[in-house]
């Protein structure tokens, strides 16, 4: 009976969930991060449930199958607002974000007690290359470096090193689209020498990010500035959450998220957050002076990345209502990771302060020919998707530097749907009209 006792205990564990971040699936994961009893893990090996949050484009179904098969058994899948793969037609599907935590816990319990079987393997049990019984030693190898020992070729030197002139082996891998450190949907072919990135070729752009509907309404007519600015702060805080989690600051990451979900986030709380970040050494220990954008790149990325190096590009300064609130764009002096985070925090504070002011006087925007989204200016055209500049930016960076640079850059395109649409809230009619 020892086993069943063990299983009962295991059923009460915090549910380890590996999230596959599909299109528009981010929002529910932020909520899960704040839910007790659920643990979002970084590696599929550490999970008992694969949560596919949001749709996955068909050309990435193969990658999804690979990740699915990498969970050690027993495991189950849950599809949140996502169509299960054909082979898994019977898998649990769910559209209600409020029911999600409970569903995850139930699945985990059922899995542990044996009521629910493990999800089947989707890919054939074959090595990447046949090797058994082949080659000089029966393991697929030939000579010293040849063949496919144990199914894979050996790493060879491809390119000269870009830093110190020692030409050693380089490792070429494709990363993504579901690597938890990368923006969801980004895939790239990366060559590393040691822990240094030699070359980076972006294959597919990150999934589009949905803005709150107030940004869409701002293009239709006047909207309350308070609402607009709070939405802006929320957007930045969610990105900050991601970066802080990456830096191992779980507590402040959740603080940022709580601030984002607070009904009336005050400027004082944002300032407190910034002070705590400074005090714990985030700017001195983690963010780096790497990942520097030149002026063209900064302009292309737009938004925070443009204002951090000092380009005073902000559509808000053209709006008389903003001018009445004494708005001036904040700028920093640098184009690196550090400056971008300083800029982000400063803009969060500024947005919350503007929101408070604007709420007092009930100020509305006056111009509706363009809106400054958190991602950059949007009037005649969208903020451009700019993930291909990573190809120039990341080579030469150490892995950790590269990841923190990636987290500090917001390169994803904007979704034509608003956040409320994609996460199930009633769709405001104005947006419907705009799309039609």
């Amino acid at each position: 009976m020892a086993v069943s006792w063990l299983q009962r205990l295991a059923a009460r564990a915090a549910v380890p969930v590996f999230p596959v971040r599909g299109m528009h699936g981010e929002e529910v994961l932020y909520r899960l991060a704040l839910t007790p009893g659920i643990k979002l893990v970084d590696s599929p090996r550490h999970a008992s449930i694969l949560l596919v949050a949001g749709g996955v484009p068909p050309d990435q179904h193969d990658a999804l199958r690979r990740v699915h098969d990498q969970l050690p058994g027993p495991f189950a899948t849950l599809w949140y607002r996502s169509e299960p793969l054909d082979e898994l037609a019977g898998a649990t599907r769910l559209d209600d974000p409020d029911a999600l935590p409970e569903a995850l816990k139930t699945i985990h319990r059922e899995l542990m007690s044996g009521k629910r079987g493990s999800s089947p393997r989707l890919l054939p049990d074959e090595p990447p290359n046949p090797w058994e019984g082949l080659g000089d030693d029966g393991h697929g190898g030939k000579g010293m470096m040849g063949g496919v020992p144990y199914g894979r070729p050996m790493a060879m030197n491809m390119t000269d090193d870009i830093r110190d002139g020692l030409t050693l082996d380089s490792l070429t891998v494709t990363l993504g689209p579901f690597l938890p450190m990368l923006p969801p949907g980004l895939t790239a072919e990366v060559t590393l020498q040691g822990d240094l990135i030699q070359s980076w070729t972006t294959h597919s752009a990150p999934y589009p990010i949905a803005l709150e509907s107030v940004f869409f309404q701002a293009l239709q007519g006047p909207v309350p500035i308070a609402e607009l600015e709070r939405a802006r702060a929320r957007y930045h805080l969610k990105r900050l959450h991601f970066a802080l989690r990456l830096a191992g600051l779980d507590r402040l990451a959740l603080e940022a998220l709580r601030l984002a979900f607070a009904p009336h986030p005050g400027q004082d709380r944002a300032m407190a957050l910034r002070r705590r970040l400074v005090r714990c050494g985030f700017f001195r220990l983690t963010t780096t002076g790497r990942g520097r954008l030149d002026e063209n790149q900064a302009r292309r990325v737009g938004g925070i990345a443009a204002r951090a190096p000092g380009l005073e590009e902000d559509l808000r300064s053209r709006d008389a209502a903003y001018r009445r609130l004494e708005f001036t764009p904040i700028i920093q002096g640098g184009a690196d990771t550090n400056a971008r985070w300083c800029q982000t925090l400063a803009e969060i504070e500024q947005a919350l302060q503007l929101a408070d002011q604007a709420e007092r006087d009930a100020v509305h925007t006056q111009r509706s020919d363009g809106v400054e989204t958190p991602r950059g200016p949007w009037h005649e055209q969208w903020p451009e998707e700019a993930s291909d500049l990573l190809d120039d930016l990341l080579p030469g960076l150490e892995w950790d530097e590269a990841m923190s640079t990636l987290a500090s850059l917001d390169l994803a395109p904007l979704s034509p749907w608003s956040l409320e649409e994609t996460s199930g809230a009633p769709v405001p009619t104005s947006v419907e009209e705009r799309r039609a």
């Binding site: 000089d136 030693d137 190898g141 030939k142 000579g143 010293m144 470096m145 040849g146 063949g147 020992p149 144990y150 050996m154 390119t159 000269d160 090193d161 870009i162 830093r163 110190d164 002139g165 020692l166 050693l168 030699q198 070359s199 070729t201 790497r290 990942g291 520097r292 954008l293 030149d294 790149q297 190809d391 120039d392 930016l393 080579p395 030469g396 960076l397």
Partner: protein, 204 residues
């Protein structure tokens, strides 16, 4: 000097471990395993030293060798083809001669050990090996101690000069790089390289 039986038992075990892992160093394909087999051999010898009452030297052997073998492993992996031994390989020359030479050395030394007469004078009972070593270092052998310090400083400077690529005066091998690798005289890896982003010299 007579040791209790348990010491003899452990000595035999450790001696076997030291020799077997010493031999495995040259018989394994994986470079990482080779260096850590050497580490095991060192640790076994270190434990024997502790059994011989050289408690400081034995333990010092652990930390010295752990660090040295770690570094050894790093360099082995860096510079050997097929470092993990995924394909079995034999990178030896004059193999038969070497085996013979090794065996000959062993035999000569073993003969010496067996035939020569050594005085039998064990450690005095009241000896504190660590303190005696300390006194020696600060007393009669001060010169060795001092010169070791200087030699080690020289070594530090030597390794930095030889191995470091970037320095105050730019890349160490500037001018010796094959042409075409770094166009425009912009050696990759200059200190405080600011132009990480422009990437014009990156290989694709």
């Amino acid at each position: 000097m007579d040791y209790p039986l348990i010491v003899d038992v452990f000595f035999v075990l450790l001696a076997t471990l030291a020799v077997v892992s010493g031999w495995r160093v040259f018989a394994t394909d994986s470079m990482v395993r080779a260096s850590f087999f050497l580490l095991v051999s060192f640790i076994a010898v270190g434990v024997i030293m502790i059994l011989l009452a050289a408690e400081y030297l034995g333990v010092a052997m652990f930390f010295m060798m752990a660090v040295e073998m770690m570094v050894m492993a790093i360099f082995m992996v860096m510079f050997m083809m097929n470092p993990a031994g995924l394909n079995p390989m034999m990178m030896v020359h004059q193999h038969k001669f070497s085996i013979a030479a090794g065996a000959a050395v062993f035999l000569v030394l073993a003969t010496v050990a067996l035939l020569a007469e050594f005085p039998d004078s064990p450690l005095p009972a009241d000896l504190d090996p660590v303190a005696s070593l300390g006194d020696e270092l600060l007393g009669d052998s001060m010169l060795i101690f001092e010169s070791a310090g200087i030699v080690l400083l020289t070594t530090m400077i030597g390794v930095v000069v030889l191995s470091s690529h970037r320095g105050r005066y730019g890349a160490a091998d500037e001018g010796s790089m094959p042409p075409g690798l770094v166009p425009g005289g912009d050696p990759a890896g200059m200190p405080e390289e600011d132009d990480e982003g422009d990437g014009h010299h990156h290989c694709h």
